[in-house]
Amino acid sequence: MKNPVYTFEKLKFASFEFTCCEGCQLQLANREASLAEFFGLLDVRTFREISSEKHDDYDVAFVEGSISRSDEIERLLAIRRQAKTLVAFGTCACFGGVNSLKNRYPIEECIAEVYDGQPVETLPVRKISDIVKVDLSIPGCPVAKKEVERIVVSLVTGSLVTLPKYPVCVECKEQLNTCLFDLGEICLGPITRAGCDAVCTTGKTPCLGCRGPADDINFPAFLELVEKRGLSRRDLKEKLGFYNAFEAYPCP
């Protein structure tokens, strides 16, 4: 396709969803003012949520959701066989997301509670990279469309795709927000990867870490900060466990 500056090839694009709310895919249809330009970069081969076209000759697959049933594993393996670039799209795909809260309970108890014990197949929740190799991760609950646009442009132009290495605190300070720790709240902003424009803390609610750990975080110092301020350990655990994104940083 031609534009005044570049000649580029549209991405042969497909979008799939597993155990999730489909809110990340919905973001692809948001930012309506730039929507025509955004889809101008994509040759949509499969995107069940918005189109009845279905073709299996895609190169880039966006995969939303976590994995919690055996048919999902099979579908995911088939996507991996076809896709040159498999993108874990959103927090559920990258970390398991809120769905992982289910894993605190035995499967039989979950089924008994919700389906009156009728047989329903469900497995402990897993993230996409537990099953297949992931080429690129775009975290966020939901993903930030602005960041997705930037990444898609990088994929089209073949340039390096990067995520911010620094924490949400940096973006929060840019917005001149009052620090939530100073208001007596535990906030995961100091340890969570930026890229969301600090949207939650700007709305005066604490960061729950949906984008996962930033690069080179000092977790012991973060724990010390919570301790020094005399904030609740139970609250900290609830926040760290919310998206399962801090699995690698157990809280004592």
Partner: protein, 424 residues
């Protein structure tokens, strides 16, 4: 004519989530017609157990990527009623405006992205953008407005940030509220374009007498809280949601089914309209009249039209709500609360119909038991029954297999099912 026909649609497209349609005809006789939800269950009622009340709306909003504001507000309402917390009036006005934003976004997504391609004969909205750019731009303009209303009132258009138990965590910015007013003024022409397009469509002629259930407060078009009312005359208080739903497990579906007075019932824009059309904004009443929508309408395909009529109501009502917020001192937006044990239901009208969250808390304000009944769950049995009646009628009319398949798909889409939501 003795005919055979086998329609087997796996993972219906242009709907949220995964559902299958099956119609089998042998020797001219309808053997089966049905709707099965095959979405993977997530077990939110389990996940929410042990969570602190203040965190719960941030979890339950993740039940749905399209109607996250409704889920957050249903949980908040249940928890506020359980713990006897009264949110300040400015917070209530802002919440209603947030619901308007979400409903407009959701209806515009459904009408233009999911439903319109069927009527225009395209596979999706992208080809439609090429063949009818003015129409799609109108739809995008309304969807963008809905998202912007949600963002100004809740901090973000999907998965709200500032809706909290007790009120709001942040005041909506008055400059942005003023900009919303200007935007609404501009986008009224988009409503006109939408009404012109949907007014000329050949809506399939199909009726099956149905019990419609929605909220009803006897004073305004309902969105947050109120009595539960059915067109068969059943009326219950909000906490008394169980006799309105009678949820049960159907073995072929991961989403449950419900019933009230009959074998099935319907929720959604058409149910709201059928029970509350007198409370619509005068401009919305005019639009309904022009589009041929009159209560009680038993044609499920008219749900599309009811959604459009609600879009008209929302644009005009949002103007009033924004003006009210602009004229108010917004310093009191959050009621502090002490956690306590309690039990209550919060019912809201999500875009696809009445949504119940029932919550029980302990003395520390942690949730010990939750029950969520989703609009699409309440529509599943009705979709199933409609499909059988529709297949029978289409066979009698001698419609081709391809036509029956298309009608069946359009019927399910008319309900605007939110399937992953229904299998929360």
């Amino acid at each position: 004519m003795k005919r055979d026909c086998s329609i087997d649609i796996r993972h219906l497209t242009r709907v949220e989530g995964h559902g299958n349609i099956r119609i089998t005809v042998s020797g001219g006789k309808l053997l089966e017609a049905g709707w099965a939800v095959v979405e993977t269950p997530r077990f939110f009622e389990v996940m929410v157990k042990g969570m602190s009340a203040e965190r719960v709306p941030f979890l339950t909003s993740r039940i749905c990527g399209i109607c996250s504001i409704s889920h957050a507000l249903a949980s908040i309402r249940a928890l506020e009623r359980a713990m006897l917390i009264a949110p300040p009036p400015a917070a209530e006005t802002t919440r209603l405006l947030a619901m308007h934003g979400e409903t407009l976004q959701s209806h515009a997504l459904h009408l233009f992205f999911l439903a319109a391609p069927d009527f225009a004969g395209t596979s999706g909205v992208l080809p439609l953008l090429e063949s009818q750019p003015e129409l799609v731009r109108a739809g995008l303009g309304l969807k963008e407005l809905g998202n912007e209303i949600s963002a100004v009132t809740t901090g973000r258009c999907t998965h709200p940030v500032s809706l909290v138990v007790g009120g709001l965590s942040k005041v909506p910015d008055k400059i942005r509220l003023q900009q919303l007013l200007d935007m609404i003024g501009e986008r009224k022409s988009a409503l006109g374009i939408a009404c012109d397009f949907f007014g000329t469509l050949d809506i399939p002629r199909f009726e099956r007498e149905t019990e419609f259930i929605s909220l009803h407060n006897g004073a305004t078009y309902p969105f947050i809280g109120g009595d539960l009312l059915s067109t068969d005359g059943v009326r219950k208080e909000e906490n008394d949601y169980l006799p309105m739903t009678n949820e049960y497990v159907a073995e072929f579906s991961t989403s449950k089914f419900t019933r009230c007075s009959r074998e099935s019932s319907a929720a959604g824009a058409l149910a709201r309209f059928n029970n509350n059309s007198g409370f619509l904004h005068p401009e919305a009443k005019k639009a309904a009249e022009k589009l041929g929508l009159r209560p009680i309408c038993h044609n499920p395909f008219m749900c599309n039209i009811a959604q459009l009529v609600e879009c008209v109501h929302i644009l005009y009502d949002a103007e009033t709500l924004i003006q009210k917020l602009l004229d108010t001192d917004l310093s009191d937006i959050r009621t502090p609360f002490a956690p306590k044990a309690g039990i209550a239901t919060g019912a809201v009208e999500a875009p696809r119909g009445i949504l119940y969250h029932h919550m029980e808390t302990d003395e520390e304000g942690k949730v010990v038991k939750a029950d969520c009944i989703i609009p699409t769950t309440q529509n599943n049995a009705n979709i199933h029954n409609d499909l059988q009646a529709l297949a029978r009628q289409a066979l009698q009319e001698g419609k081709s297999d391809r036509n029956i398949e298309k009608l069946a798909e359009m019927l399910v889409r008319s309900y605007d099912p939110c399937i992953s939501c229904s299998v929360h």
